[in-house]
């Protein structure tokens, strides 16, 4: 009885897109090897004919070399044991030969297989044609051609699941590549095409003389696009909405509640000069809504739009190669920029993505570094909001400090953490024009998960902050720890509440600094200390899972020491 379908294949062949097509469950797909690092479940059919579908990380062979690949191979082993699983082996039609290597290994296992020849459109586009029927009769298992992003061939794939068969293709292991060569000769015809302009341009981005200037220029461009979209949305959409539509409603409620009631404190917060200030009032419906929707969401949108374009274009692995040497300085290799980029959005997927790195040492260094010195986009947006009015004079010190911390801490970790760091070894996927509907789906997914997972936390946070203030707990904490933060960081007692709240949500914590009338210097120090000190609870949980307890304790101690040291130093030199 078939109960499960396991999607297996080389990295970056479209497994996750096919998974989403089959199950309707949305998962992230991107044009670089190693997007999926943990399996994901969904199902198709209903009632008695319901089957689980599992999206696995990609793997080049059944001998895993990274934790992500281990996950895939472990899933296969379970499938073979339980005898209730069909393997859908997804193949990149533009790389038939290399992909068949895994297919032939799968055919030796006692498990039914169906092959999906995906990226069929791309193969046609570059002049590769494959005789799917011939391949089917050679391998003795169903072969279906598919275009995952448009859904072409997915129905046929589902119908052919019923015909899945255990492989009967026999060969000697040592002869595998010869065998593959013979198959490819029989089924594939490559029309020789001249280098396209796209390929020529593509080569320019990888040669160091041209590639490095292009990389620097594109990173600047990306930053300005993010800033442009983010600020644009705030200035023309969210601020006008809050100021002219939401504020009057809040004023009504404020009058209804009476300015001195506890309920007013919680819901509306403080009136500033008799009116509502969305940055400072600190009620659930004022600041509580403004922080996630007014200040952070515009940047989430801007950042993830740009990141998604970057991911789907195929530029990330090229950037990884150009930056490989720089990352050696911190004990990592080039592909570590993938988790670092993801961490700029949110540290949680960043830490998860460290699974594409091969050794424990690399994963510890990468995860610790990102939680120390990479603020998530929500926090960055709030820092922009707070320090933006001072321009580069206010913003640069924060981000330059964090960058320097990243470099120095990374260097120290490279010297201190024992273990191996292997070299980069990665496939460079072809450049592809991002498929717009797929891109929008991905963007929506990320926004939705922010709305679902972050917004409730922010609202809860505002509630907790107000209750703790009302109970006097924050002031008590301020009196207890305040002398230390004043002496070390030059921050007033009131800032202690914000530093503590950083554990819940960093964006909210930065927001708590707004009503305190801090100087530019104090804001800079507080922003840096908040980023570095301790991860937010969501990041803490993944760190704990990925690094284990001892790893987490080590990482936590490093963070705390670094934060104290850097905060103190800034206080002295600024």
């Amino acid at each position: 009885m078939v109960k499960k379908i396991l999607l297996m294949g080389n990295p970056n062949v479209g497994k996750s897109v096919i998974f989403s097509r089959l199950t309707g469950v949305k998962v992230i797909a991107a044009n670089y090897p190693g997007t999926t690092v943990e399996f994901c479940r969904g199902c198709i059919g209903s009632g008695a004919s319901k089957v689980d579908v599992i999206d696995a990380p990609g793997t080049y062979s059944l001998e895993p070399t990274s934790p992500a690949e281990k996950v895939a191979v472990a899933l296969l082993e379970r499938a073979i044991e339980e005898k209730d699983t069909i393997i859908v082996n997804i193949i990149d039609a533009t790389n038939l030969e290399r992909n068949l290597n895994l297919t032939l290994q799968l055919l030796k296992k006692d498990v039914p297989v169906v092959v999906a020849l995906n990226l069929w459109d791309e193969a046609k586009h570059i002049g590769i044609s494959i005789d799917a029927e011939a391949l089917q009769s050679i391998l003795g298992i169903p072969v279906v051609s598919t275009v995952a992003i448009t859904g072409e061939g997915i129905k046929e794939l589902v119908t052919h699941l019923a015909n899945a068969k255990t492989g009967e293709y026999h060969y000697v292991d040592e002869e595998r590549w010869h065998e593959i060569g013979r198959i490819v000769d029989k089924v594939q015809v490559i029309k020789h095409k001249h280098h396209t302009i796209g390929e020529r341009l593509g080569d320019l981005t990888i040669h160091p003389w041209t590639g490095i200037p292009i990389a620097v220029a594109s990173l600047f461009l990306l930053f300005f696009v993010i800033r442009f979209i983010g600020e644009g949305l705030i200035t023309y959409i969210t601020d006008p909405f809050f100021d002219s539509l939401w504020a009057p409603v809040m004023m009504r409620i404020s009058v209804l509640l009476g300015a001195d009631s506890l309920l007013h404190k919680i819901i509306i917060g403080q009136l500033i000069d008799g009116s509502i200030d969305f940055g400072e009032s600190f009620g659930i419906l004022t600041t509580g809504l403004y922080v996630p929707f007014g200040a952070v969401l515009p940047y989430i949108l801007a950042f993830y739009f740009v990141l998604s374009v970057l991911e789907d274009s195929g530029y990330l692995p090229r950037l990884a190669i150009l930056l490989d040497n720089a990352l050696h300085a911190i004990g990592l290799h080039g592909m570590a920029i993938v988790p670092m980029f993801l961490a700029c959005g949110c540290n949680v997927p960043g830490v998860m993505a460290t699974r594409i790195l091969e050794t424990k040492r690399e994963r510890f260094i990468a995860a610790t570094l990102m939680s120390i010195s990479i603020p998530c986009v929500a926090q960055t947006a709030m820092i922009f909001g707070l320090l933006g009015k001072y321009g580069a004079r206010g913003l640069l010190p924060v981000f330059v400090t964090l960058f320097v911390v990243w470099l120095i801490t990374g260097n120290l970790l490279r010297l201190l953490v024992r273990g191996e760091s292997p070299e980069i070894f990665t496939e460079i996927p072809a450049y592809r024009l991002p498929h717009f509907p797929t891109l929008m789906k991905k963007l929506w997914m990320r926004i939705y998960s922010f709305l679902r997972e972050a917004v409730p936390f922010v609202l809860l946070g505002v509630l907790i902050v107000n209750l703790l203030y009302a109970l006097g707990a924050i002031n008590a904490a301020g009196r207890a720890i305040g002398p230390l933060t004043t002496w070390l960081f030059g921050l007033p007692f009131e800032a202690v509440g914000a530093l503590l709240m950083g554990f819940l949500r960093k964006d909210l914590a930065v927001g708590m600094l707004a009503p305190l009338d801090l100087t530019m210097k104090q804001l800079i120090i507080a922003s840096v200390v908040l980023t570095m000190s301790f991860p937010c609870i969501a990041t803490f949980m993944v760190l704990l899972r990925e690094l284990g307890i001892t790893g987490m304790i080590k990482a936590g101690a490093i963070m705390l020491c670094a934060a104290l040291l850097v905060g103190g130093t800034l206080n002295l030199i600024l």
Binding site: Y60, S61, T94, P208, I321, L322, D324, E423, F425
Partner: protein, 76 residues
């Protein structure tokens, strides 16, 4: 004609892999990506300061760390 390592190959030139000087682990990793003795390989580009070497094997482009690349011996 001569046997050199990938790192010594000229950019844009093509060669045939003759041997891989490493243990089972290295050979298996390279093999899974289609790099094995007998295969034709084109060097696309190197990077500054012993950075990764980029090669093309069949239709795939692959980046290989410098150290690893010194162990891939090619006949040009």
């Amino acid at each position: 004609m001569g046997r050199i390592s990938l790192t010594e190959m000229e950019e844009g030139s093509e060669g045939s892999v003759t041997s891989i000087e490493g243990g089972h682990g290295l050979r298996a990793r390279l093999d899974a990506m289609g790099i094995r003795p007998g295969v034709n390989i084109t060097k696309v580009s190197g990077q500054f300061m012993r950075g990764p070497i980029i090669v093309r094997v069949g239709t795939t482009q692959i980046a290989i760390g410098f150290g690893m690349a010194t162990r891939i011996i090619v006949e040009v």
